[in-house]
């Protein structure tokens, strides 16, 4: 590495936990690379946003979240879905638009969902998830009082999202009503192609909660343990004190905004530098150095991840698309009279 980077010590962590984190990071890396390839093969349609380069943030945040907590994400969510516990097959199937997908093929890459895992989406509108996440936290206050076992909400958002109205209205409500929610800004330095400082009057994004008396903290997004610990601490305060928090995890996208973005706004040197900071090989090296992994077992983990992704692609490929007869299946939760159900060109007169 070309720079000395301070990382949280591994001492005190169980080896199993650390190996688990490595395996998750590798799975996310393998899955996302394969998703890119599948998109280029036109198996995945629409948009495809990847967590490449953010694996340490993804794994660290999911390591802090308890099973009883709720998660709202942006559209850059595949890694979170996997680390929250969705199997790679149904996630890939959703990307392929198959009926075995986690959202039944109805949502695609930006709208993953799993109610049992309390993964409440997956949102394509920038900032669209923030008010509902805040509302979910409000609902939690009706279920019971604060305490170490109380439920909390984690709401992910991007650096560009901190400029949109819904961010401010939501943080105001959370601060005003003291809701058990942690907002996590995944700051990869760019909102699509715009650097943070060209869009935010206050580019130290963790400070932006002060208007709402929401304490903020910045953490190194490439340090999986630091991310986990920071998020966990904020979630604890949210649970026990109903104190909302704002966490800024700084990491770097390895590639463009999405699969179709060539990232021309980055210089070659910048791109090279970012490659050196790649958290996955970095974490691997640390575990090898500390003797927690050896080369062979690391290799096995890598191969297992590739195999899991191969299986996922095969599962997705072999799954059927939802049939046209089911087009109106989720029109309403409560059926009512005269629900419109015509295909184009059909009349409503039966």
């Amino acid at each position: 590495m070309s720079e000395e980077v301070q990382v949280t010590a591994l001492a005190g962590e169980s080896e199993e936990t650390l190996r688990g984190y490595y395996a998750q990071m590798v799975l996310v890396r393998a899955f996302e690379q394969r998703a890119a390839e599948m998109y280029q093969r036109a198996k995945i349609g629409g948009y495809c946003h990847l967590n490449l380069g953010e694996e340490a943030t993804v794994v660290g945040l999911m390591g802090a979240l308890e099973a009883r907590d709720y998660l709202f994400t942006t559209y850059r969510e595949h890694g979170y879905a996997l680390c929250r516990g969705m199997a790679p097959g149904p996630v890939m199937a959703e990307l392929f638009g198959r009926s075995t997908g986690v959202s039944g093929g109805r949502g695609g890459s930006m709208h993953l969902f799993d109610s049992k895992l309390r993964f409440l989406g997956g949102y394509g509108i920038v900032g669209g998830q923030i008010p509902p996440a805040t509302g979910a936290a409000l609902a939690l206050t009706y279920r019971g009082g604060p305490g170490p076992d109380a439920e909390a909400v984690m709401c992910l958002l991007g650096d560009g999202t901190t400029n949109i109205g819904s961010f401010h209205e939501s943080l105001n409500l959370a601060g005003l009503w003291r809701l058990p929610i942690v907002y996590v800004i995944v700051n990869n330095g760019l909102g699509m192609g715009t650097p943070v400082e060209k869009a935010a009057a206050e580019p130290d994004l963790y400070k932006r909660g002060c208007s709402y008396r929401i304490p903020g903290e910045r953490v190194d997004g490439d340090d999986v343990i630091a991310v986990r610990d920071a998020a966990r601490a904020m979630l604890d305060r949210a649970r026990t004190e109903r104190q909302p928090g704002l966490l800024e995890a700084v990491s770097y996208r390895l590639r463009g905004h999405s699969v179709v973005d060539p990232a021309r706004y980055r210089s070659k040197e910048e791109t090279e530098r970012l490659r050196d900071l790649d958290p996955v090989p970095a974490f691997r090296a640390r575990l090898l150095d500390a003797g927690i992994l050896d080369a062979e077992s690391a290799q096995r983990v890598d191969e297992q991840a590739e195999k899991d992704v191969d299986d996922a692609v095969r599962f997705a490929d072999q799954s059927p698309e939802p049939p046209v007869e089911e087009l109106f299946d989720h029109a309403y939760a409560t059926p009512v009279a005269n629900m419109p159900q015509q295909l184009p060109g059909e009349t409503w007169q039966s």
Partner: protein, 410 residues
Amino acid sequence: MPDVFMPRLSDTMTEGVISTWVKHEGDTVSRGDVLAEIETDKAVMELESYESGVLTRIIAPEGATVPIGQSIAVIGEESGTTPGPLAPTAEPAAAAAEPAAQPVAQPVAQPVAQPAAAAVVPAVPDARVRATPLVRRLAREHGIDLATVTGTGPNGRIVRADLEGFLDRPPGAPATSVVTPAAGDEEVPLNAIRRITAERLTQSAAVPHFHLTATVDAAPLLELRRQLNEQVFASDARCSLTDLLVRAVGLNLASHREVNASWGGDRVLRHGHVNVGIAVALDDGLIVPVLRDVDQKPVATIVAEARELTSRARAGRLTPEEFAGGTFTISNLGTFGIEHFTAVINPPEAAILAVGAARDEAVVLDGTVVVRPIMRLTMTSDHRVLDGAVSATFLQDLVGVLQQPLRLLA
């Protein structure tokens, strides 16, 4: 040996141009190396390799335009032998390199509801008549010729109110009786036949018409009939006078096409076929089965068909096609001893022939009074289609045919 394929690099991309090959044939490549720069509809993008090995063959050169999914190069083993024709990629996930085919699931097409075919009147499109959809439907159902209706709506549009007198009272409106039943009166409700007949005759009353009467010396015709029934027809399948009249009228219409016509609203329709209807009296009312192409059929065929249609008409078993498509009608009240009458036109036909009984009368022939069986024919014509001279010529020629009846057998 895996193919390198033209990737889909944007949601709208269908083909790409190889801008530059960064790696060349024979180069070793590792997974993640940039192989080429691809120009898409939006930007120039780098193509990274998914495989490690040797770039053994470049298929698409710089500058080539390649559809997405098609091979552009091959990556082989280190040995570097150029492979033969492209092998399918060994990737387990490798589906066809085309974009995922969309299964075409055709929804069951909703059949377009067809309105029930109109019973009697052939549909005549009213091209320049303005009428509301309601009026058009009622006209279709009741066989009303909208050309005979005056519109009082905006721009002369025919509205429902204008159909009063052409229709039954609409349901729900009070039935205004013209007559008040007295004690001892029997009220006979209208059946379908009578109702439709009444409507059509009311419609017919609006047709401007004129009548022409001619007399026929029926002796040759009666003699022909006698001989035919004696020598040709069985006793239970006799030829009637009406059958011969149908044949005569048919031949005459074939040579007087202008009479084989109908009023079409804004034009006259001269028919290609000669279809003559014969009025049949039933207990329930009047019905007119139609004999088709009577100018083409010999007398024997006409006799058989007329018998068949008439008996089925009496049994109420005619199909709608059998009383549609008529171009001329004959009504014969001779069997009732009626010597002369005027029939009402069967719209939209241009004319109708009323036939009276053939009765012995004293007539003057070559200066002497003789007794001959005289039959009177009265033709009613729609003056919008036929002028006096046209109808008169037709009638004159018909008389000529009937008085030389062997012409019916030719």
